[in-house]
Symmetry: D2
Subunit: 142 residues, 4 copies
């Protein structure tokens, strides 16, 4: 297990989660697709922490689908474990940005998984648009 990153992009959020039975599989560990759900939950926490909400972003005509998702699994999470999903924005491009994630143990010392998701900004018809300034500003300021 790697240690947590000392240079994680700021601001960041640490979302606490207790593993429930429905997330596990017959190997007695969390099913691998559920890590992407955890990423989404942490993205949402991040957005809220920065004073925004997806609903408000969408009401301004901006949609943030997922273009790409990646996860690297180091150590399984198990039923009833407390884990943290750490999330921040690792890269801004003109019309997209990248969330990065670390899933850690309860003591926030070891990383059990890492990952990223890439989000283009699109309008209501699905056409790519530049990242709005208000979105970037809200996400950058602590």
């Amino acid at each position: 297990m790697p240690k947590i990153s000392q240079s994680f992009p700021q601001p960041e959020v640490w979302h606490k989660h207790r593993v429930f039975y429905g997330e596990t599989d017959a190997m007695k560990v969390v099913y691998y697709a559920n890590y992407l759900t955890w990423f989404e939950i942490a993205r949402n926490s991040y957005i809220h922490k920065q004073g925004l909400s997806y609903i408000e972003i969408e009401s301004r005509g901006v949609f943030l689908p997922v273009r790409e998702a990646h996860c690297r699994y180091y150590k399984p999470a198990r039923f009833d474990d407390i884990i943290y999903i750490r999330a921040g924005i690792g890269e801004w491009k003109r019309a997209s940005f990248k969330f990065i994630y670390e899933i850690t143990n309860e003591s926030k010392t070891k990383v059990i998984a890492t990952g990223y998701t890439i989000h283009p900004c699109v309008n209501a018809t699905g056409k790519p648009i530049a990242v709005p300034d208000w979105l970037k500003q809200a996400c950058i300021c602590k």
Copy 2:
């Protein structure tokens, strides 16, 4: 395990399914909420078999939310099992109807779970409406 019902409402559908890893939990059996997903898949198969589709039903302004769901578990399903979801409509009321289900083993002889879902008909604004004749006719005719 009970035997399959000899007086199941007709028409009926038998939807074949192979249990995948993501459906199981740390008890090495299918997680209990997934049976409701199986019910939905079988409802959809039923609708298709009767020559309709949810999309077409909704395009006619009729929506079929779930008002009530019930499942009785007799014997667990496990990873890689072949099971069948048998579905039919057990009851018609003026403004709602009831789907009933039997989940069976691969040989269609034993029932591993039973259940039902109750569906009111509502319009686009969520207001209850009478079951449309065309819907009932399509579902009744074999």
Copy 3:
């Protein structure tokens, strides 16, 4: 929407939850099977609140599968809603017991769904056993 129950069995737990995107479906409401997952999460919270854990219960050779599950849906939950899952034990039998649930809005005033699950006690080989005294005592005492 009914009001919350004034005579809910005690002790009880109120588990707070924010609806995430993955829980919703194309009707823009929470998919109906996910309410059973919420029930499980609240059961686990309840067990923890009473000073136990499923893992400890299982380590004592007692397993609590679900024999029956029921949900009545009153009003849909939507993405980003804060909801509470209220859980308590509504009935004790010799070899099984019944959890009951109310899903409420953020202000804990209105019930958006109710439900129950019935759990037999079984040993490691799946054989029914009487509810252990230590389990009942732990769950009854506040």
Copy 4:
């Protein structure tokens, strides 16, 4: 949308799937984590097509967890769509191998998503082991 690959590794499997409601989200498209579930279903189909089963592989003391998962989303899948999950093994290393995937439309002409998963071989205690010859042989032969 890219076209399907002309040089996909052989043997391959095309697993047919109809999108159900529970797979969609409030954007009215399939929730992004579910693509990883589709990958798993196709891996399992592939294993079966080659005359093996995960259960048999595990009974020989070989486990195939996921070390890494990736998905690139090109075009959303929607409720009731028929899609295919094409799967094959793209790379063999000494102690791991890589499944690659294409999700296609119903006519198998366009790719709506691509992805891969990397699987180390481990024994029952989680220790890495070389890919067994019998596993590689079974997966290579058509």
